[in-house]
């Protein structure tokens, strides 16, 4: 297991190195060099070459690439030209908002979706199962920002139950929590049906397997069979999907963050694009990719914990 963890972490480092290199290349592809971008059209040649030296742009490309990678791994993503703040600090400051949102969004979906999947697997073709079929078809197809907009219209504008925009006042936990309700609802809604359908399908498959029949032949209680012996197998594919889904939500939450005008890494990425702030954009992409990679690794490790066949074969 330790070796496996090390192996997965090594894999993440490799993925990150490639990502960073690609981003580095993109800087060259983007029209306009970083120096003119930073200094504007009226800069003198002396100012330009002075900044070139300061930024290390006069060095050979490979050396620049190496330094870029080394800096990124040590957390130095450069300085934002506008705010004069380290990009890493800006990005990492926005990240917790998105992490919290994604955790809550997928969290409530998993808490409802997984038991719902088990339930409908046991009561196949029952009323709940049929309703789930319709519910999941509708909610999976519904884009989360549409849910967000209607949620806003109904619960904030019409009923005035929930505050509409922003992340809430700093330090006011209750206010911040209230402002998380609608966005995490919008993010999770599609996931409820999706996870339920997934767990249902794999639960039905597992319950038809021989080892479950063997346990039934020994008279074990059906609820115990489902929870102790079938669920750990049935959730394995779901864990991988949740890991990947969570990872991609970090950038994918952007529409929700825009609709609710919430700070977050998605919103930051969006703003960086709109203001053509490429160093900041690079930083955001790096942070999101790192999180995504970590999420998949966490999911892999979790799967290995659940499945002794994987754990022990390592």
């Amino acid at each position: 297991m330790i070796w496996y963890t090390a192996q997965r972490l090594l894999w993440s480092v490799a993925v990150m190195t490639i990502t960073i290199s690609v981003l580095f290349c993109l800087i060259y592809v983007i029209p306009g060099d970083p120096v003119s971008m930073a200094l504007g059209p009226r800069a003198t040649e002396a100012m330009r070459s002075e900044l070139m030296t300061r930024m290390g742009l006069d060095r050979p490309v490979l050396e620049q690439l190496w330094r870029f990678i080394a800096n990124a791994f040590t957390g130095d993503l450069g300085t934002d030209m506008w705010s004069r703040q380290p990009i890493s600090r800006i990005a990492l400051g926005a990240l917790p908002h998105t992490l919290l949102l994604a955790t809550l969004g997928i969290g409530w979906a998993a808490l409802i979706g997984i038991p719902l999947g088990c339930w409908t697997a046991l009561r196949r073709d029952g009323l709940a199962d049929r309703l789930l079929g319709v519910f999941s078809a509708v909610t999976i197809a519904l884009p989360s920002f549409v849910v967000a907009i209607y949620g806003l219209l109904i619960f904030s504008v019409q009923l005035k139950w929930l505050p509409a925009l922003g992340a809430g006042a700093a330090g006011d936990i209750a206010d911040q929590a209230r402002r998380l309700i609608l966005p995490s609802f919008a993010i999770g809604l599609g996931w409820v049906g999706f996870l339920a359908r997934m767990v249902r399908a794999s639960m039905i498959e597992v319950l038809s397997e021989n080892h479950i029949r063997m346990l039934r032949a020994f008279g074990l209680r059906e609820s115990r069979i489902v929870l102790r012996y079938a669920l750990p197998i049935a959730v394995i594919p779901t864990v991988t999907i949740i890991g990947m889904g969570f990872g991609s939500l970090l950038s994918g939450a952007v529409l929700i963050e825009i609709v609710f005008n919430r700070p977050g890494i998605g919103k930051l990425t969006y703003d960086a694009v709109m203001s053509r702030n490429f160093p900041l954009l690079t930083g955001c992409v790096l942070v999101t990719t790192a999180c995504y990679v970590l999420c998949t690794v966490a999911a892999d490790l979790m799967v290995a914990r659940l499945d002794p066949r994987i754990r022990k074969s390592l």
């Binding site: 397997e209 021989n210 080892h211 479950i212 029949r213 063997m214 346990l215 039934r216 032949a217 020994f218 008279g219 074990l220 209680r221 102790r228 012996y229 750990p232 197998i233 659940l306 499945d307 002794p308 066949r309 022990k312």
Partner: protein, 323 residues
């Protein structure tokens, strides 16, 4: 009925609802299983052996419908509600299945599984149940029990897994042990070891063993009595020695002729029974074996054969019982 009867099967029929129609997998089976006997249930694949023994452990799939009676120690399993059936499974009735490679739960250790199967015993704690499991491992021929108990099924060979399955069944002290083709998935050497193990543990089962196989040779090694199934019916029953020495049903005779271990005369060619069993969605009015039977005549084809007593505790379901 006799006091020694453990399980009385009375006009039992099992039908499966399928998209192709109703499959009559078991048709009007009568059989009494007595304490202390090992009964072999043989027949080609598809003849209804698994269906019959599944009904004995009250574990038929949802699409099955059952008619008739199955009295286990006097209680009719067919009429029992699910909670009552669950009380019998693993607590009086235990089973060993065909495929040891898929029969053990992959995410629990052997030790946890062997503790879990003793769940009906509320008197003993986990520690005691684990001690019993360790002891039982030695009895089914698994050395180094301490380490094995901490392992997962996928770390064990097929033969080892089947030993674990046997240990699980024996740990529940069954009065009826059902083994549904327990060696079919194993190689010949392992098969011999498992058969030997079952034979040595016969006395551990304080009741009866039902041994299902499509392999007559194994019945000769292990069983006291044999019941031959064909197309959902029991066509012949009797003591193993008598049936093998002098089969009274043409199907049994054909089966014995096809069994390599029992062939006496030198031959270069393994005989087979020509033809195929009838479609069980529409079983024939007459004898199901008639189209493949060399002795069949018009009566056989049109009239259901009678059950003929052929000796003490021996029957044949045939119009043309052999002398």
């Amino acid at each position: 009925m006799s006091a020694a009867a453990l399980l009385e099967i009375d006009h039992l029929s099992i039908r499966y609802a399928t998209p192709r129609g109703t499959v009559q997998a078991v048709r009007d089976v009568n059989l009494t299983i007595r304490r202390g006997e090992v009964i072999g249930l043989v027949g080609e694949s598809g003849s209804g052996k698994s269906s019959l023994v599944s009904s004995m452990m009250a574990l038929l799939p949802d699409n099955a419908a059952v008619d008739g009676r199955l009295r286990f120690e006097g209680t009719d399993i067919v009429a029992l509600p699910e909670t009552g059936r669950r009380q019998l499974r693993g607590n009086g009735i235990a089973a060993i299945f065909q495929d040891p490679f898929t029969a053990l739960n992959p995410v629990v250790t052997i030790g946890d599984l062997l503790v879990a199967v003793q769940h009906h015993d509320h008197g003993a704690g986990t520690r005691e149940k684990r001690r019993r499991a360790t002891e039982m491992m030695a009895r089914v021929g698994i050395s180094d029990a301490g380490r094995r108990l901490r392992q997962y099924p996928f770390e064990l060979s097929g033969g080892m897994r089947q030993r674990v399955a046997i240990a699980a069944a024996l740990l529940t002290h069954p009065t009826l042990l059902i083994a549904d083709e327990p060696t079919t998935a194993l190689d010949a050497t392992t098969e011999a070891q498992i058969i030997d193990l079952l034979r040595r543990n016969r006395s551990a089962v304080d009741g009866a063993i039902v041994f299902v196989t499509h392999h007559l040779g194994l019945v000769a090694q292990l069983c006291d009595r044999v019941a031959v199934m064909y197309a959902g019916e029991i066509v012949e029953t009797g003591p193993v020695g008598a049936v093998f020495a002098n089969p009274r049903h043409p199907y049994t005779r054909a089966l014995i002729a096809c069994e390599p271990a029992l062939i006496r005369a030198a031959t270069r060619r393994l005989p087979t029974i020509g033809g195929a069993p009838p479609d069980l969605t529409a079983p024939p009015a007459g004898c199901g074996f008639a189209p493949r039977c060399p002795l069949a005549d018009e009566t056989c084809r049109s009239l259901a054969p009678p059950v003929v007593a052929t000796g003490e505790n021996a029957t044949a379901r045939c119009h043309k019982v052999l002398p």
